[in-house]
Amino acid sequence: MKNLITWAGVAMLFTIPLVAQPSNTPSPQNPPDSSAMEQRIKDLEERIIALEGQVRMLKATPAAAPAQPAAVSGPTAAQAQVAVPPPAPTPAEAPPVAPGALPVYGGASASAKALNPDISVIGDFIGKAGGNSVQPTPSLEMHESEVGFQAIIDPYARGDFFISFGESGVNLEEGYITFTALPAGIVARVGKMRSVFGKVNMMHNHVLPWVDRPLVTNNLVGGEDGIDDAGVSISRIIPAPKGLFLEATGQVFRGDSGADDAVFHASRDSDVSAVAHLRSYADINESTNIDIGLSYARGHNELGTDFLTQLYGIDATLRWKPLRRSIYHSFVGRGEFIWSQRQQVPTEQRAFGFYTSADYQLGRRWFLGGRYDLSDRSRFANLTDKGGSLVLTYWPSEFSQIRGQYRHTSYADNISANELFMQVIFSLGAHGAHPF
């Protein structure tokens, strides 16, 4: 009996391949079979591609995963662990976190790193030849190392930090949260930020088309740091006739950025400063556009609560960039005109200053530019400084720039200075967006 069963089993084992073989061999009589197979492989391929896409999305989009860390440390995770007593040991997963304990940072798992902010470092090295007794600068200087951390915080906001290291000393250049999902198209920003007074005040050193900042910035708007203060900013695009872009921004700051040469000082907590900006922009055609802004700033100066400084500004930018040759040729013409009204003893000082500049891109890597400067001094409006610069910039790649600038300045007190600057800017890490 036992033998019979064994033999029957052996016989069956032999018959299976015999029966299966004819259907396996592709014969011309039944082509639908092979095409069905092909179809199945194709379907599987499609599913793999879809899965790969999902994996990429999970890795790349931090906003899609905010629930994940919460679930790990939250009470739900603890409950889940109780409910499922033997957790399967999967080596690919993040190390298990005890309920209630802090997650361990710096782990080797790639998925944890995917949620790290984008980190960038931008170096700005400046060398100088020639003397200047009014505005002295070092001969060789690692002028600034700017570290940027940028990330999407949650589906409603993003965060940006720019910390600027000098050769000694650290300064929070900007650090703010931007609320991007507010109703009625409002974009709000809270933190420390460069204010929207004109164009140059908004720009970080490494995006300026020059080594230095214009005289008018130094004399009237607080120099390199400018109006850079802690506060709240609200902006919104205003409905306008078709083709015209209008944006209004209102900002309220502490009124004291702390720097010695700052425009505004707060003697009392209530000495806040305010900045308002209206930006209008229009495309003349697809390669040319014009951008005009009106700015107003109001705050208290270092003489005390009763002494106001008000600034009025107009900025205009004309840009040309032929789209078909956008990486080879472009032109930017800019100008900013600023009036300062400063209450002080014995009399109020009304000063005016401006710069105009032009930059032309000669080829993919070469830019040639010039700038003319003229500015009264805010405390002595009868003293006027003038200057001019010639700039040549070379871009080895998108991530580095080498710049030479010749600058002649005639200061009001009959002192003139001729200087030659050399600047190297280099960028590490995340591919930051190019400002417009």
Binding site: Q54, A63, T178, A181, V187, F245, R324, R365, A433
Partner: protein, 308 residues
Amino acid sequence: MRIRFGFVVLLALGAIFSTAPAQAKKLNVVTSTTDMAALTQEVGGDRVTVESIAKGYQDPHFVEAKPSFLLKLRQADLLVTVGLQLEIGWLPPLITQSGNPRIQVGANGYLDASQFAEILDIPTGPVTRAMGDVHPLGNPHYWLDPENGRRVAKGIAGKLGELDPADAGYFQEKFQDFDKRLTTAEQKWDADMKPYHGRKVVTYHNSLPNFAKHFGLNVIGYVEPRPGIPPTPSHTIELIGLMKRENCKIVMVEPYFDLKTPNSIAAQTGAQVVKYLPSVGGEKDVTDYFKLFDYDIALLTKAFQATR
């Protein structure tokens, strides 16, 4: 008193701001590039309005973040992007400044189309900038494989249906129709390209891996020494040597690159410069996804015949 002034400024600004803009009945779709716009148009039909930020004849890596684009984005119900960091230099600030919660990254109206496509050139080792402007997530020029066009169109149709459930059936129908037409067109394209299977080509930028894979072309080199780095004399000489050794007779160049180096390479190797289009709208009459392949394949087959 002093503080009140600040509030007055804010209030005055608040007064200027009117309420939310009136919503159109059609879904308002903005895409980063024309190819995504063309695919959205195929499946969206007359139930959507589609507009692309970049033009088809423009280098999609270097688009200026013009404020006029904000006017389009603030009204958008859906933003379709190519993804894989192609738009990283210009799209993030536009999204942030748009003041449109619907299209923020991670929101329901933000669609990264790369999740649907087969992606090539995903770096396996460490990535450094010494390799040039590499895309660490893979090559973003994936739309030049019709198979990926189909996958992306399917994904977009799904998303449109999610945003406008009443028309979900319509979008699926439009996709089925697109799928059918694409299959027919693909058979013709494949047949046209079949005689040139395995032909060697050089491209300016590495934007053709998906196209080359689908149509069986063999890309042996690039005019750029590294992605995003303009041609250098030493690399050009090397490339000329390589092309002579490998008997490669085609240099494919995107319309936004300078033709000087490709022309001199062609002159020294007896090759032809093919000014192919990487995107819909690169030429005036290339108005949809089908015409893009029609145009490029006609150019290529002509060049292959001439350089036998």
